[in-house]
Amino acid sequence: MEPQRHDDEWAAIRLIVRRYALSRTRQPDLADDIAQQAVLNAIEYQQNHIVISLHALAFRIADNLIKGHYRRLKPISDISEIDGMACARPLPDRITEDRAETRAMLEALNKMPPLRRDVFMRRRLDGQSCEDIGRALNLNPKAIEKHITRALVDLHAARRKWREVETPDKTIKPDNDIEEGWAS
């Protein structure tokens, strides 16, 4: 019964990582592969290391896999200048879609209070830490975290609205739920 519980835990992690990978890549097959690989790597890793959060570990590995995937796919054609935006994403068939989504994100950014936007930009685009931003703006790092969180919630809401979908990934059927989820 104990190994069973263990398996269940990994299955749950695989499912949630898949949901994450799917939301990022919008390719069900790729999301399957990434989730599968992330869990295998995580299982191997935790055999030799002390891991506090298996979820955090699996997400981190999935991030690296997604990054690696796109790095391999990076095309030669110049898609880095679209409407004057730097864009490192490689799948040409998704560019139009992404441009529309980017416009939606831009709208959400425009609606934000300037401070919230500035703080989020420093964190997300420049990679400054909350402590650094706090020092620069003379604010408590906790307050900075709060601003970034608000900004993320705003962008997430806009992104979800733009995609006009509810994505109930509770059913474990690998693909069916996805198609309807991302058709737009």
């Binding site: 104990e2 519980r5 263990h6 749950a12 949630i16 990582v17 949901r19 994450y20 939301s23 990022r24 002390i50 506090i52 959060s53 979820h55 955090a56 997400f59 991030d63 679209i82 409407d83 004057g84 935006m85 730097a86 864009c87 992404d98 989504e101 980017t102 416009r103 994100m105 831009l106 959400a108 950014l109 209070p113 300037p114 401070l115 936007r117 500035d118 930009m121 964190r123 997300r124 685009l125 830490s129 909350c130 003379n138 604010l139 408590n140 906790k142 307050a143 975290e145 709060k146 970034i148 969180t149 993320l152 919630v153 962008l155 997430h156 992104r159 979800r160 994505t167 990934d169 509770k170």
Partner: protein, 321 residues
């Protein structure tokens, strides 16, 4: 995780998920934060889903593109609202991730407000909380207490584990802590209470003076004194009050301490609970300075020094002779 009972949670699951994404994206994530994260994400399937979605929004390439575009657009304009916004933001520091600081930071200038809260921590999860009167409580892992301020009485019940108190001075409202059979009464002071089991309580005073009562008896303790109350008896002794309690740094100092007691400390940090197979072994005494915040280290030490067998199961770790 801390739960404040008197107010419904102000944060939606999405808000919590966003806060966790921001916390987990930091360059370095403290171990206790990661532990809390794992507890949170496993607490409910909705949490995991919300986190996955929110994390994807954080990483989404369109977000990055939009930011880059905005940056270029804005580069030509002046940015003037930072100072005003900053001042405003300073007033808007709200609660964060389960720790519902909003209600704990209720303004203290209200006349004698009634206030109640219930705090709980999981293993390895130490929480520092400020109460409305300025009193601070640090709750050790796997511990629980309730707070009730009413009229002229500030009452805390420690129902499990261990807590450190730094009580704001207020002669008009005495501060009482009930822990097991012991009752501690203070005016303004700093002290630690360790509820070892239902009938054993250890109280250590780091500043000021407290009165410990158990059954018919009571003793006054001052700086550097500690008392163990057990089955209505109170024994007083001295300790080094220069440092803060060891557990706040994850250490436990044992001098001929029963293994059972040490393992109780370890269990405040262990993700997998540690059990002792038989009472004889639990009564065996051990000595040393143990990093109880790192259960694996303690257990391997016990194995090496005392020859105690450690059997690592999936849901429980068992110690045998």
């Amino acid at each position: 995780m801390i739960k404040v009972v008197n107010e419904p949670s102000l944060l939606s699951v999405e808000d919590e998920a966003a806060a966790w994404v921001v916390a987990m994206m930091a360059e370095t994530v403290p171990a206790h934060t990661e532990r809390q994260f794992e507890l949170w994400i496993k607490a409910h399937p909705d949490h995991a889903q919300a986190y996955a979605d929110m994390c994807a929004s954080w990483q989404a390439a369109p977000v990055e593109d939009a930011l880059t575009f905005k940056r270029r657009q804005g580069a030509s304009r002046q940015f003037i609202s930072v100072v005003v916004g900053g001042a405003l933001a300073a007033c808007l520091v709200l609660g964060f991730v389960g720790v519902n600081t909003r209600s704990v930071m209720l303004p203290s200038f209200k006349p004698q407000p009634t206030y109640s809260a219930s705090l709980m921590t999981g293993p390895g999860d130490i929480q520092d909380v400020a109460l409305p009167d300025g009193t601070r409580i640090a709750l050790s892992g796997n511990s629980a207490l309730t707070v009730r301020y009413e009229g002229r009485r500030r009452q805390v019940n420690l129902t499990r584990g261990e807590a450190w108190f730094d009580v704001a001075h207020d002669e008009s409202r005495a501060f009482h802590v009930a822990a097991g059979e012991a009752e501690v009464k203070v005016v303004g002071t700093a002290f630690n209470i360790d509820l070892l089991d239902a009938v054993t309580t250890e109280v250590s005073v780091y500043r000021g003076k407290v009165q410990v009562a158990a059954g018919e008896r009571s003793v006054d303790l001052t700086l550097g004194q500690k008392a163990i109350s057990q089955n209505g008896r109170i024994a007083r002794s001295m300790f080094d009050a220069q440092a803060i309690p060891d557990w706040r740094e994850g250490w436990f100092e044992a001098e001929d301490i029963e293994l059972g007691r040490l393992i109780a400390e370890v269990n405040r940090f262990a993700k997998t609970p540690v059990r002792i197979a038989d009472p004889d072994l639990a009564a065996k005494t051990v000595s040393g300075r143990f990093k109880v915040s790192d259960p694996a280290l303690v257990l391997s030490g016990l194995k090496q020094v005392y020859g105690i067998e450690v059997r690592q199961g999936k849901t429980v770790t068992v110690l045998t002779k």
